[in-house]
Each structure stands twice: as structure tokens, then as C-alpha cells.
Symmetry: C2
Subunit: 344 residues, 2 copies
């Protein structure tokens, strides 16, 4: 029970803090356990040869069923919260690094939202020297701890663990090498985890690298607007669903109160008294359970509405920037250069 985040650093950690995600699954999904862990994003500030390096480490809500993913909205909300946390805490960093199990495939909404809003680059897509599992997958069928049935639609496995990075303020960063383990421990044959480990060597320079990365990942206004819209719609659906559950729970509370009153009358009247008393426990349980569900989904709706409001604001600003001409666009879209004209 814990966020499951851990960092070992060769360089002294100058500062650290943690942000626990507002939404993280449902407490009544006890068998999934994510809610109890309190998933979070950790931030470490390191100073490396005069560079300020912000390292983020995180683990987003697991995906238990891709076909019918009840946690999709929460994962999108977490991806947004993560992106906003990075956006607001990295404004003075020279290099930003995010490592973690995002539980998101590369084309998933949460992953695109994160990359578009923060401007982070994916080490696997950028590097010219990759060795490891097929297609960079970090959950592979060769791993004996992996549920093979879940991976059936993906013969090579899935890529859900990432090393993402960017450099700002005149620096350039590139991924020299990227390695993954391949489902087996090199020594004993049994792997150390159900996920494959990632190892990246990154290079930060004052001048552009000799082999510049393909320009396909530069932020574009229309791309950002489209992913923001998509995320807004997803969160909006989530708000409606959370409110539906809260309303449903309030009806159950009403019914439970009626049932309790009826049972009291029965117990006082005699006759089926024992039955009435026996039904007392499940009725009280129903009432308390429905009360908890009501409260929880009201809080969920509040959390999702908050994220939706932030998205809507950013969307509005992005549209304004697009309308007011291309020269004002890049500053907003990279989302990191506000109030400082000296960068990039």
C-alpha cells in the first residue's frame, strides 16, 4: 500500500515533493486496489553541471479491461493533472524528464494529451539506438508474471512504460541509447517484475544534435486543440456518469429509509417479527453503502469538473492564439515560455 514510486539518484537530490492525484479509481473496487495506494507524481530537482533537471516519476491507474475500461476517465484526468503539474512546476528547469508506468498505449488519449500539453518527447520514438523487446514493449508475453489472455490482441506485448524528456532555455536533449529487458532475468531466467525495465542514456548539449530527431513531434496548434477537445469530451462524459451514480445512490438511500421504516413497523406489529429483525442488518448496510457511494461519486464529479474547467480554459486560450495569428502561437502551445521572450 503506497504510491509505489522510488528513485535512486547518483546526484544529490536538491528538492523533492509529491502530488497525489485527485482521482484514482473507486474504493469499492477493493480487488483492484488502486484507490488504496494513492497514486501520485513525485518531483525531484537535481543540479547537474550547472543544469537544473526536474525529474518526474509516476504510476497512473491500471487498465484492467481495455474493451470495457471503467477507469478511462480517471486515467485521462490523471494524465491531465500530471501534465499540469509538470507544466506549472518546471518553468525554471533546463531539462525535464518523466519516467513511469503510465498504463497508457502510445496512441491513447492520455498519452497524447500529456505529450501535447507538456511538449515532452518519447525516448523510444526519438532514439536511433534501441535494443530490447519488439517495438519497445514493456509488458511482453514472454514474461511469466504477465496475464497472457490480456495480451492476446497484442502479439509483441504493449508499450506502457515511458522515458519522456525535453530541454528548454537554449539546451538540446537527445536519447543516445535506449534498452529494455526482454521478459527474462539475464542470470536466473525468472524476471524481476511483470514489466520490463527501461534504461536510457540522454545527452544534453548547448548546440543541436548531429542527427536531429524527426520533426513529426513538434507541437502544432490544431493537434493540441483536437486532443484538448477529445479529453474535454471524455471528462464531460465522466462528470455525467459520476452524477448519474450519485443520483442513483440518492434514490437507493430513499428506498432504504422507506424499507427501514417498514421493517420497524413489522417488528413492532409482531407476527413476522423475526424476519423483520433479520432484514434490519442488510437494510442498514444498504443505507450506509448507498450513502458512501453518493458521497464518493459527488466528490468524483467535483474532481472531474475541476479538470474539465482547466481543460476548457486552456482550449479557449489555444483557440484565441490560433485566431490571433501564427506568430503568437508557439509561446502558448509549448506552454512553457509565458512571460519570457528570451527562450527558444
Amino acid at each position: 500500500i503506497g504510491s509505489g514510486l522510488c528513485v535512486f539518484s547518483k546526484h544529490p537530490i536538491q528538492e523533492f515533493t509529491q502530488h497525489v492525484y485527485t482521482l484514482n479509481g473507486y474504493p469499492y473496487m477493493v480487488h483492484h486496489g488502486d484507490w488504496f495506494c494513492g497514486k501520485a507524481v513525485g518531483l525531484l530537482v537535481l543540479h547537474l553541471s550547472g543544469l537544473v533537471l526536474n525529474v518526474y516519476v509516476t504510476h497512473l491507474h491500471a487498465e484492467y479491461n481495455r474493451q470495457k475500461d471503467i477507469y478511462l476517465t480517471h486515467r485521462v484526468a490523471q494524465a491531465w493533472e500530471l501534465a499540469q503539474f509538470i507544466h506549472h512546476t518546471s518553468k525554471k528547469a533546463d531539462v525535464v524528464l518523466l519516467c513511469g508506468d503510465l498504463n497508457l498505449h502510445p496512441k491513447d488519449l492520455g498519452c497524447r494529451l500529456l505529450k501535447e500539453w507538456t511538449g515532452l518527447h518519447d525516448a523510444y520514438l526519438e532514439t536511433r539506438d534501441f535494443k530490447g523487446s519488439e517495438e519497445g514493449c514493456t509488458m511482453v508475453p514472454e514474461n511469466c508474471y504477465v496475464n497472457q489472455r490480456e495480451l492476446e490482441p497484442f502479439p509483441f506485448g504493449i508499450r506502457i512504460d515511458y522515458v519522456l524528456y525535453k530541454a528548454v532555455s537554449g539546451f538540446y536533449i537527445s536519447c543516445k541509447t535506449l534498452r529494455t529487458t526482454t521478459g527474462h532475468d539475464p542470470h536466473s531466467g525468472s524476471p524481476l517484475s511483470d514489466h520490463e525495465a527501461l534504461m536510457a542514456t540522454l545527452c544534453v548539449r548547448h548546440s543541436p544534435p548531429q542527427h536531429p530527431p524527426s520533426p513529426t513531434h513538434g507541437p502544432e496548434g490544431s493537434q493540441l486543440i483536437s486532443v484538448l477537445k477529445e479529453a474535454w469530451r471524455e471528462l464531460d462524459l465522466g462528470v455525467a456518469q459520476a452524477r448519474w451514480w450519485a443520483t442513483f445512490a440518492s434514490y437507493v438511500i430513499g428506498l432504504g429509509l422507506l424499507l427501514l421504516a417498514f421493517l420497524c413497523a413489522l417488528a413492532a406489529g409482531g407476527g413476522v417479527r423475526e424476519v423483520a429483525i433479520l432484514l434490519w442488518t442488510p437494510s442498514v448496510g444498504l443505507l450506509l453503502g448507498a450513502g458512501a457511494v453518493y458521497l464518493f461519486h459527488m466528490q468524483e464529479a467535483k474532481g472531474l469538473s475541476g479538470a474539465r474547467a482547466e481543460l476548457q480554459h486552456v482550449l479557449g486560450r489555444a483557440r484565441e492564439a490560433q485566431d490571433s495569428g501564427p506568430e503568437s502561437r508557439p509561446a502558448l502551445l509549448l506552454g512553457q515560455q509565458e512571460g519570457d521572450g528570451t527562450e527558444e
Copy 2:
């Protein structure tokens, strides 16, 4: 039900986000209600004539009983979380402004911690033009919504709402005027809230103000270390207490299980069957309640441990800075200038 935060801005809001506090009272203190609100800190980024202004707005956990304050640890943890949030999100701001109901008296641990770690100045202490209630109090006995008994030890009232500010990167900020309401609405005679409103006029300049503020509030290494230590001890006590409650709840869970087994045996045996069935409901309730209390206090202990670990790290760094001589001190102690030698 909500964080209760609201900002109206004459200037366009460039960005905004919200951070919900990890700890915020106890869900079983239903009559206090703080837990259900989800107290938070909001951040707005404004651009004013070329300045980047980070405006923070917050409301910390209420203090219901100053003599026996069961929420003291949570309020200290919230003050630390607030200070860390400001510290990490304001690194590129020119001016930082924090307004809110901190539910902390000026000399309270949380208030000192917040001011020492962020370097924020208190408008009431800095201004030379104050008009309003006695001693700047924002909860005054003249206000008809205020519980008079709570204010008995404080004849003028208490000052728990603040306007705090600082300027960085070569700017100077001063508080020109500060006003409070005085317990009465100027028109109808009945006040608009149980707290008095604050209104400040702040002045940001490129050069120092003509009447520089008294130098009593400049950060000093030993002062920071002493308040960090005090906060560490408070959080440490809180962790121990949260663990004690979790342990107590686990014993109650064990007892509840035994009781349930005993009642099952009684009910099966006949004789006092009806009594056994009647006691079934409170036993199940006891078990579920104790389970919830166990989980909640485990999470509380985790949250407090996290804050304590951050404090310990900052304390270690502050001591290192103090040991390594005065020239390296200001950069750490102001807590805002890392990695940039051009500021101040």
C-alpha cells in the same frame, strides 16, 4: 460542498490550476464538514504590464477548539503543502500573491512555516497605511455571525485571513494601503460574512520603495531551521497518533469478528436467538466502521509521513547550507533562486 475558493479578476487569467490538500480532517467528523469540502489551493497566472503574477488563493482547515485542537497536525501539513506548492510553481513568477483564510494566527506554527519557507511578507505587518478593525483582525466580536464564546480570550478578535506577497527577480513590492471591514455592512448594518473582508493596494517597482519595510522579516537560516524542526516534531506526533488509531481500529476489527462468530453460535443454538439476531446489526456496523477507521488512519499516517520526509530533506539541506558558510545560505533559504545566479 466545495473548496469555497473564488477569484474575480479584472485582468485576463492566463492559466489556472488547483491542488487539493492530501489531508483535510476526518470524514467521521461529519458536523465539521471540512473533509467533505476538499480544501485546496488555487493558482492563477496573470500577466500585468510585462510582469508574471502568480496569485494563490486558499482556505485551510478550520480550528474548532484552540485549547484542544485535533486538527493542528492537519493544518500544519496543509501549510507545508501550500508552501511547497507555491515554492515549486512560482519559480518563474515575478510577483507572488497569496490571499486566503489560513485559519492560523500570525504566530502559529503553520503561519511561520509558510512565511519562512516561501519568503512571503504579511501585508498587515508591512503597510504604513492601515484602516479597519483593531489589530487587523478578520474575525471580530462585533460581527453577529461570530460565536462570541470562541473569541472570549481575544477581546479584539483574531487575525486569520491574510494578504501575503513577495517580488522576485529584481522587482520590489510594497503594500500601499490595507483596509478591512469592521463587522458591519456599511449599508444595511448586517455583515456579508462571518469574516471581515481585506482589501490591499500593492505597488510593484523596479527600484526599492521610499519607505523600505522593517528588516525583521528577512529570512534567517537559524529561524528557518527552528521552524522546520518544530513542524517536523508536530508531524511526527501526528504520524504516531494516526498509527495508534489504526492499531486500535485493527483490535476492534478482531473483537468484532469474535463477537460475530459468538453471535452466530448463539443464534444457531436457540434460546437467546432473538437477542443474538438483534445484536447482529451493531456488530456488523462496528466491524465496517472499524475497517473504515483503520483504512483512513493508515492513509493519514502515509500522508503525514510524506510531508515529514519532505520537511526532513529541507531541514537537512538548510543545515548543510548553514554549515558550509554564509555565502551559500541565501540561495537555499529564499528557496526560489536555485540554478539561477542572475536573480536578487
